[in-house]
């Protein structure tokens, strides 16, 4: 079973701060991490490999420093790592990104299963997985909370708002994983050693993956950012003062006044 797992290096959005003067993101000093959902996808790939054998290739697109997350992925059990990195990719929206990722997957070649995280925490779009599946013409199953591999096919539990569906699909196919699929694991010492001493990250350019240049980059992206701004704060509210008893009384009378006493 050949599995390609796509991962993304993202800023830890819990740590992102806004410059109050300029209203822009302060990225300096913000730690970067492997996107959570992607890590779950990788751990799932390792589980599948341990069961049925095969090879795991991790693939990422980003600047050269994105090699860090690929090293981490190698330490967690991936066999090969590919980083596609090129100025030509800069500014790609999800459509253009999926064209680049899809082309890289074609360049890597043989695959049975493509695993993605559901979405990345910097953009939260959840679009690159399905758009890559469409680019490659393979079926997709999103929001996977469980994967079982059978002969030539997989059975996936796809999370819905009010339960889940059990879906069967022939391979090859693309699955996006949610965090419920497994528990986070940490690299072993041996894994870390191997990742840094025995394994390599293969860096490829747009040329290398033979992507059609009219399908990538800022200018070819159908969507463009018109403007960005910081969310506006609401006007300062009122602070209720007094003892616990007094403030509780104020709240109750407030709820009565606004007719918000639901259950009564």
């Amino acid at each position: 079973m050949n599995i390609i797992v796509c991962i993304k290096q993202v800023p830890d959005t819990n740590e992102v701060k806004i410059d109050p003067k300029t209203g822009t993101l302060i990225r300096e000093g913000v730690p970067t991490i492997m996107n959570h959902d992607d890590k779950h996808a990788l751990i799932e790939a390792v589980k599948i490999k341990n069961k049925v054998g095969g090879k795991i290739t991790v693939l990422s697109m980003g600047p050269p420093q994105a090699q860090e997350v690929l090293r981490e992925a190698l330490a967690l059990g991936a066999d090969d790592a590919v980083l596609i990195s090129d100025r030509a990719f800069a500014g790609s929206d999800t459509w253009a990104t999926s064209n680049a990722i899809g082309s890289a997957i074609k360049a890597i070649g043989d695959y049975d299963l493509l695993l993605f995280g559901r979405q990345a925490i910097d953009g939260d779009t959840a679009q690159v997985g399905p758009q890559t599946a469409e680019f490659l013409g393979v079926p997709q199953i999103t929001y996977a909370q469980k994967i079982e591999v059978e002969e030539g096919k997989i059975k996936v539990e796809r999370q819905m708002e009010d339960g889940y569906e059990v879906i069967e699909c022939k391979l090859p196919c693309l699955v996006t994983c949610i965090s419920e699929i497994n528990e986070i694991e940490y690299p072993s010492l041996r894994g870390i050693k191997q990742a840094h001493r025995e394994k390599e990250v293969n860096v490829m350019s747009a040329e290398d993956i033979k992507v059609d240049k009219s399908l990538i980059g800022l200018l070819n992206s159908p969507t463009s950012v018109h403007k960005s701004f910081t969310p506006s704060a609401k006007g300062q509210g009122q602070i209720l003062k007094g003892s616990a008893k007094e403030v509780a009384k104020k709240v109750v009378s407030l709820l009565k006044e606004k007719e918000l006493m639901g259950a009564f």
Partner: protein, 387 residues
């Protein structure tokens, strides 16, 4: 400056007003806004050029609709669809076009009429047994072919598990842009769809345009837009469209659909939400939240920190990575108010926050704040509500 000319009521053929000479028969001309002129206007000797009203009542353009994907599950239209139709009406009015819904189902059973009652001017109805339940490949094929046949300007999907599965697949197939999880939609002066969405965990809002491709497509979060009042007397057109799918188009097989495995959390439709955060200290802290919520008939919400710590199920999470809510009342207890949480609840009608830290950012969005120990205030509140 004002544009004036001598009116037919003026007895003179020439007026000298503070040095400015106006002749009868001349067209409107610019004069300064000075007392003599004003007086002449008041007397009716001068006629003022009125801004022409732009009420060229053009016929509504056919075919270039604002389309809503009418997600249906178990023969019921998802609530978000009605919210999107409300928004679509507003967008369509600005574009001078109609609204339309695309409905896939095995049997209409009055669903089309319901869509019309909530604001669809037109319903494209695709009835076929194969379209009973959502399936990526079948739905993508049918909707993509249909969008290639009509000239829709805008297509909106709910940012649900289904909408976020089909939207990107369709965007890639028909080569157009798709903006995820929009919280604001508007039309620019140039007639483009202005799509506002949170990014970087809600730390930043981005406005996105899709300038060169049609239709312009978005997914929009449930609970963000207001639905119109249901109006059964609204008139709309139902267009039955031939469905061109067969079992050969099915790439996956749905073996089973399992529902209600856990108690359904209905944050979307809740009028009151009581939410707990890290300030609860431990998992047991949610008992207080539960008690208060049940007294108020409220749903239970939670911050990402409590969900990540495993104190409560992810279904309860409010915020950028959880649900966006706008209930009538939101009570935030022990929640500091990280931007990612505020992004999901700041549009609630009334927000009450209880936190021991007076500088907690939650107080920036709260209408009423209580700086104090939640373990004293909440039990007191529960006590008084019981009476």
């Amino acid at each position: 400056m004002v544009k004036v000319k001598i009116s037919i009521n003026c007895p003179e053929s020439q007026l000298n007003l503070g040095g400015i000479v106006l002749m009868r028969g001349n067209d409107f001309e610019d004069v300064p806004d000075m007392p003599e002129i004003k007086q002449a206007i008041d007397n009716g000797y001068l006629e003022v050029l009125k801004e022409e009203k732009k009420d060229e009542v053009k016929g509504v353009k056919e075919g270039e609709e604002v389309v809503v994907f009418a997600e249906q599950r178990d023969g019921k239209i998802s609530r978000v669809v009605f919210e999107l139709l409300g928004k679509a009406q507003e967008l369509a009015a600005k574009l001078n076009v109609k609204t339309a819904a695309i409905l896939f189902t095995d049997k209409d059973n009055g669903l089309s009429k319901e869509l019309i009652a909530y604001g669809a001017d037109k319903v494209y109805l695709f009835e076929n047994d194969l379209l009973k339940n959502y399936q990526t490949d079948l739905y993508t094929k049918v909707i993509s072919e249909h969008l290639n046949n009509i000239n829709a300007q805008v297509v909106i999907y709910g940012a649900t598990h289904i909408g976020r599965d089909i939207g990107p697949r369709v965007a890639q197939r028909i080569t157009t842009g798709l903006t995820a999880d929009c919280t604001g939609l508007d039309i620019t002066e140039e007639g483009l769809l202005l799509q506002t969405r949170p990014a970087f965990g809600g730390n930043l809002m981005a406005q996105i345009l899709c300038k060169k491709h049609k239709p312009q497509m978005s997914t929009a979060r449930p609970g963000v837009f207001k639905m119109l009042e249901k109006d059964e007397s609204r008139v709309g057109e139902i267009v039955n469209v031939d469905v061109n799918v067969s079992e050969a188009d099915q790439k996956v097989k749905i073996l089973d659909i399992i529902k209600g495995v856990k108690k359904k959390v209905n944050l979307d439709g809740a009028e009151i939400i009581v939410s707990g955060g890290r300030g609860l200290g431990k998992q047991e802290g949610f008992k207080l939240i539960e008690e208060l919520a049940s007294l108020l008939g409220a749903e239970i919400g939670a911050s990402r920190a409590t969900v990540d710590s495993g104190w409560i199920d992810k279904d309860h999470q409010v915020g950028q990575t959880g649900k966006t809510v706008r209930p009538k009342l939101y009570i935030a207890i022990g929640i500091s108010g990280a931007i990612q949480h505020k992004a999901g609840m700041q549009d609630s009608d009334l927000i009450i926050a209880i936190n021991k830290d007076a500088s907690a950012p939650i107080f920036e969005v709260a209408d009423y704040g209580i700086v104090g120990d939640l373990f004293k205030v909440v039990p007191e509140l529960i006590e008084q509500l019981k009476q």
